[in-house]
Subunit: 328 residues, 4 copies
């Protein structure tokens, strides 16, 4: 396993990591979770990602139970949570969003569910324009000062929103965000390859990538229609279906499959390897529901060194979606 | 129930809230308090206001006992206290005012009486010119840093005093006050409609209004003399009596009663609705002693949408006390 | 002549000073202006007040011509101007208000009209809510840095607006305002005796009082109707007439006249002496149109020591308008 | 003419303004420039935009000559320049970009060419990653402190780059950028309608729009092929041609023409009115080469009030290019 520093912070994350997002509680149960996390850990993964909003806190509870059952030293792994969506079926005012009241209360609740004394990383899961950024930065700073959080970051924020947090951190001499959790894959490139460039350059930013496989699309499993039980066949993910199952993307996907065959590697491994081949990627989060799937995805590590400039250019020729700036 | 952000903070308060001021302990007992807070909560009220100075701490003790008996999640409601007047019959030096010693000790005592781990809002109940403002701001800041308080504010401070707290917060990079608890009603308008305007505009300020009914005067119950047992008939409120029972105000009150009749609403509901129709009002604190009274006051919510610009102008024509600035 | 430090600044102003407001250009001409300024200077007055808005720049031009004719050393007197109202009959956008563009251009124009290299004091003549206070404070700071202005202040700002300027000056390490030019006299007391108290106490504030005679009302000349040619008989001052010629004020005025007679002093001298007896007053600006009038007003200096606590209490008993704070 | 505050600054710009970009020197001569600027000024335009890079300084020289011939007060108009591209055919090192040396020297040269003492607005014409942003912000700040520039801004910077300038301004207590000059029109919407949103909200940003007519495309003149002598027929603008002359855009353009006919307005006026109907637009820069053309474009002012929500929705239905954020 390769480990990378998370942006300009001192924290090191395995370049592949494990997330429980929609799978924990909804698709798998404690035994499978225990097995998957064991495989991940044994393969060198040290970052386990979670959020209050995943299955209304049940994802954190399940991960907490699994971790309690392992004899891993707390210093061996990095644990995250995220605040924004709340953990109740019907959140009342102040039970979601980024007010100081909710961030503090959500942190305490997450610590309880995960059965730990501190979160290594605490993410603001979305921007919240109804709360002054000063309040957010102060609150995260105080949680770090109190030892309940070690690093804080953002998820799905724009570069300008991240820089605004840094401006305010600068103003009050506070600790700013050091990591962002964006979506990034062959078909979703704007933020990582354009928007965040000044952030990488000016203040530094680690990235914990979600959806390196574009919600499963890049596994190739949709090349011949929707498999029964796949995530895209579930009703609540209709919006994902609409986005990806377009002819143009299917066409590119076929070419990528051929290229992967020519390279002698599996398409999903190639897609993940492509994501972590971006030097601004700290880690790509894997979200398997079966052991075999996880092991296959870990193959990306061995694909990475094969991904030469030449192959990357061929991929670029297929994708033709590289974000470009027009300053003419 | 409508919820409003408290100034520029991220905290949301119900536009009507519940205060225990003179009623708890002095006029009502645990059973009634329990009933009243239940009615308030069930109607969507999420802010419960208190102070060390209310009935020398007994008001907080009673609210603490009631809350302990409820199964409400702590994140569902917002709890306040205030520091300044002390909680003893004969306060010795350092047992009142805004010294660091008293603020810290009063906070711990209030947490004990309210049986909670933190106050959502902590108010400086009055300005204290004998304490440097630096000491006050630093102390409040540290209580927030320690997690014992989430937001701090002032009560009965002038706009210039609030701005001085912001200047000092700016100088030392501290968290400044975000809310003020002023008196505001149809007959007491200067602070809300004139003095605080630059504060609202420049740094933001939530307001938790006390006395929206002008100590009961706007209920209309004094239109025919002082009822036995009413607050204004009690000896210690002689100063209130002097202020309100003037012929001019009685004359305006009669016209307001007629206008309320024409609108088809109760006068107290109209008076409360008028208070929260000011967009700079975050919440108006109700202080009922009987369930029926509280339910009637909650009617203000349904009066609010009826309070059109036209009706407001007619009220203005009766009051003729709108504060105006002369910059000629 | 007594000299007082202007607030916490090091600048010393004579406790009586000379302003050209409406008189220069509109009511008097160069010869009279020359005579009046000579009398003022010979009696120890060292502060001459002006503004771009007085007679559209003509008041400054006249004062500039008079000063050029005197052989006074520049260091012997203090010269002010004010920016806000513009100096043209029809100001275009950016030719009035407090934008950086107008402040800078107005300063250069005032220096030209007054024929001087720097203004000792430059006032913002009114608050301008359409311009961020940061822009105003930065611009005044830069004019001081460039040597074109020595001190800056405000006129007709509220205490909270002044404190906001201090907060911003604190934030950016800039020079804040040190003086305010408010109206202050026996019938207009709120700002000096209530609103500014926290400003005097916390950051210091000099005050250059205008209208110590309440636009002439306190001379007593209106006790028997409006004299031909007096300022209140001119049409454009109808708003002043309305304000002052009320029966209640006339009643108090009669009693003040009797009291002045009993003290053996002239009523206008008493009124001016009363204004400068407030220790928070730096100077009261006199605005005479005739030499005799100016000499009479200067009598206030000899009345001042006669104004004992006992006489002041008797005046208070007549006025019964002392602003009070209700913190009960 | 309508005037708008430039972001949160106090400066007011006419909502339509006049730019010399490619036209001055290259397409028109002094007499025409004089006539055009006269028409603009007489119609209330108060902002004249320029840059060192426009015709290698000749555009500024021409504007300087025209302004010298007019008897307009300097405070009546707002003059800009931009630094980055240099003004020489072959710029040597330090004769372009954003180093302190080039910014300072370029400013002095622009003042000379424009024959003025100060620029009202000075833009960084492009971002320059080879210069530390600290050096840029310090240099602009010092030009303001010296009185050579009143406001500074950017052109073609990303939101994150602008926020980085604000972070550095915050760090060193400097004056940050207050205005950006982006391209914005019906076919180029991302920056104004998505990227800058957090900047508008958090620190404020005025915008001086260039290319409201999409390099002439939105005049409709290319609906029937390239007219001889039009800008798109010139060889050096091949890149513009490629971008606009696509079938899809032509299709939308035809529908917009029909809609304009239905509204009873000219297409170019409609396109300009649409641009200034965005409340985040401060001004749209017009770049006419003939008097009739300028007068026609000024018609946008009378089209603006006709652009109701209903018409705007119909335009949206034709364009179907509104930038949207996916936070799902």
């Amino acid at each position: 396993m390769e480990y990378r520093r998370m942006g300009r912070s001192g924290l090191q994350l395995s370049v592949l990591s494990f997330g429980s997002w929609v799978s924990f509680h909804q698709q798998i149960h404690d035994n499978t979770a225990d097995e998957l996390m064991g495989v991940a850990y044994d393969n060198g993964i040290n970052f386990f990602d979670n959020a209050e909003g995943y299955a209304r806190g049940e994802s954190e509870r399940m991960m907490g139970r699994v971790l309690k059952g392992k004899n891993w030293e707390r210093s061996c792994y990095v644990l995250s949570s995220k605040v924004f969506f709340g953990s109740r079926e019907n959140n009342r005012p102040n039970q979601h969003g980024l007010s100081r009241k909710h961030i503090v209360e959500a942190c305490h609740e997450a610590l309880g569910r995960l059965q730990t004394d501190y979160l290594d990383i605490y993410f603001c899961h979305r921007p919240d324009p109804s709360v002054p950024i000063e309040e957010v930065v102060w609150t995260m700073h105080h949680l770090i000062a109190q030892g309940k959080v070690l690093y804080w970051g953002t998820s799905m924020w724009s570069a300008a929103e991240i820089m605004e947090a840094h401006r305010v951190a600068q103003q009050y001499n506070l600790i700013g965000p050091v990591v962002e959790q964006p979506q990034y894959n062959m078909f979703e490139r704007y933020k990582m390859e354009m928007d965040y460039l000044p952030v990488f350059r000016n203040v530094g930013l680690g990235t914990t990538i979600w959806s390196p496989l574009a919600a499963g699309f890049l596994t190739g499993k949709y090349l011949n229609g929707l498999p029964e039980g796949s995530r895209l066949s579930m009703d609540e993910y209709g919006w994902l279906r609409d986005r990806w199952l377009q002819e143009e993307k299917i066409g590119k996907l076929r070419k990528l499959k051929t290229l992967a065959d020519n390279m002698g590697v599996a398409l999903p491994s190639l897609a993940i390897a492509w994501t972590i081949s971006n030097p601004n990627t700290t880690t790509a989060i894997l979200g398997a529901t079966r052991k075999e799937q996880l092991i296959q995805n870990l193959e990306a590590l061995s694909v990475l060194p094969k991904l030469t400039d030449d192959w990357k250019q061929q991929i670029e020729n297929i994708l033709t979606n590289k974000p470009e700036m027009n300053l003419a």
